[in-house]
């Protein structure tokens, strides 16, 4: 097992299909009790997440290392994360093809 300080050792939170404040709550649940230096990747398609995940990092003194806008159809190799849940399906039907955002967070103290 790799030490948690290596960027390769990432915990993924796929919050696509969840609406605010649930993506931030899922991230906080995941972060709870994890040692400083742990990397967490969050995927979210809720429009509020692009403001709220950076705000959570600021309020909790974690580091937001990257924030990347991605099209809803992910590049090949990430197909296991294609949002196919009924929840996401409903969201897409309502809001159209909006893509999602990938956040890379390093937990601090």
């Amino acid at each position: 097992m790799r030490p948690s300080s290596e960027p390769e050792a990432r915990i993924e939170v796929d919050a696509r299909g969840l609406r605010c404040p649930l993506p931030v709550i899922r991230l906080a649940e995941t972060a709870k009790g994890k040692p400083p230096g742990t990397w967490v990747v969050v995927l979210a398609d809720d429009p509020a997440a692009r403001y709220d995940i950076p705000a959570w990092c600021r309020m909790r003194h974690h580091e937001l290392a990257e924030m990347t806008e991605l099209p809803s159809r992910p590049p090949s190799g990430e197909t296991s994360n294609v949002p196919t849940s009924p929840v996401t399906g409903g969201l897409e039907a309502e809001g159209g093809d909006r893509g999602y955002v990938r956040f890379l967070v390093m937990l601090r103290a």
Binding site: C20, Y51, E94
Partner: protein, 295 residues
């Protein structure tokens, strides 16, 4: 056209529509604001310097977060570049001294306790102004319909009454808002939005981590308090308030308090005390419902 990123959506959607219809995004520039919602004057200056700029819109203060804009400086910059300044004074008329630095000012009689349905456009003699379209003789060519005298008189009477009591009203409102701000500051995991030192005395907005904004509005409503929210994920919108987004604060769990004028709410001080007493419980209840009580 140039506008701050926190202008009323009536201005922003019109500007964006205009640019989109002409397929030229450069026709409408949205000027960023800082964490408090105050316009970035350097960015405003850059936008004004773009050749062909014909109008700048800067509000006196923001109705959602209360932050006042540096109108005197903005008007100076506009003057330097020969661009007229439109000031949306909806949030501050009747509360703050009327703005002095503008070329055209827009207001709504409801802001000072007047009747709904009456807008006001203040055009000083120094401003060259012509109504678009054909000119009629009504009101010296400034409108094409006969004004509704009763509405105008009611608005003028409300203005007179509000102005007579404005200083006292403002002091009372400030004192209540200070108590509310202190109460909000004491909540766990809160971001109080806006500039505490240069904001309207009757507007307070704060965002709470791990709270569903609409659930909190409903919980407070159940307890007899009517508050607003800029959070998304309500029944009406998936997008959070553009004002919260522009300032970069937390957008979920948002509560917006607007203190009514005294004649509208004579028992306001009691209501504020009860709100302060019940707010922590209401927040805890909504957080517990999402299982986020100990995060």
């Amino acid at each position: 056209m140039v506008a701050t990123a926190v202008e009323h959506s009536a201005i922003l959607t019109t500007g964006r529509h205009h640019a989109a219809a002409a397929q030229d995004p450069s026709l409408f520039a949205e000027v960023p604001v800082d964490w408090s919602g105050r316009v970035d004057l350097r960015a405003l200056q850059d936008a004004l310097a773009v050749p062909g700029t014909v109008l700048a819109a800067v509000q006196c203060a923001n109705g959602e977060i209360g932050t006042r804009q540096p109108l005197e400086r903005a008007h100076e910059l506009c003057g330097t570049h020969g661009v007229p300044l439109l000031v949306d004074a909806m949030a501050c008329l009747g509360r703050d001294p009327a703005p002095e630095h503008f070329d055209v000012m827009a207001g709504d009689a409801r802001s000072w306790g007047g009747p709904g349905g009456l807008g006001v456009l203040v055009v000083p003699a120094r401003t060259r102004w012509r109504r678009p379209g054909p000119v009629s003789e009504v009101e010296h060519g400034r409108t094409d319909v006969e004004p509704m005298i009763a509405l105008a008189l009611a608005a003028a009477e409300a203005w007179r009454a509000t102005q007579a009591d404005r200083a006292d009203q403002s002091a009372r409102s400030s004192a209540l808002l200070r108590r509310l701000r202190a109460a909000a500051d004491h909540l766990p995991d809160v971001e109080v939005v806006g500039d505490p030192d240069n904001a309207l005395a009757h507007v307070l907005t704060f965002s709470l981590l791990y709270v569903d904004g609409e659930a909190l509005v409903t919980e407070l409503d159940r307890r007899g308090f009517a508050v607003g929210t800029g959070s998304a994920c309500t029944s009406s919108t998936l997008e959070p308030s553009h004002v919260l987004a522009a300032t970069g604060v937390l957008t979920h769990g948002n509560v917006r308090l607007t203190l009514p004028l005294d004649p509208v709410a004579p028992a306001l001080a009691d209501g504020v005390s009860r709100f302060i007493a019940e707010l922590p419980e209401a927040v805890a209840a909504v957080r517990a419902h999402l299982g986020a009580g100990d995060l």
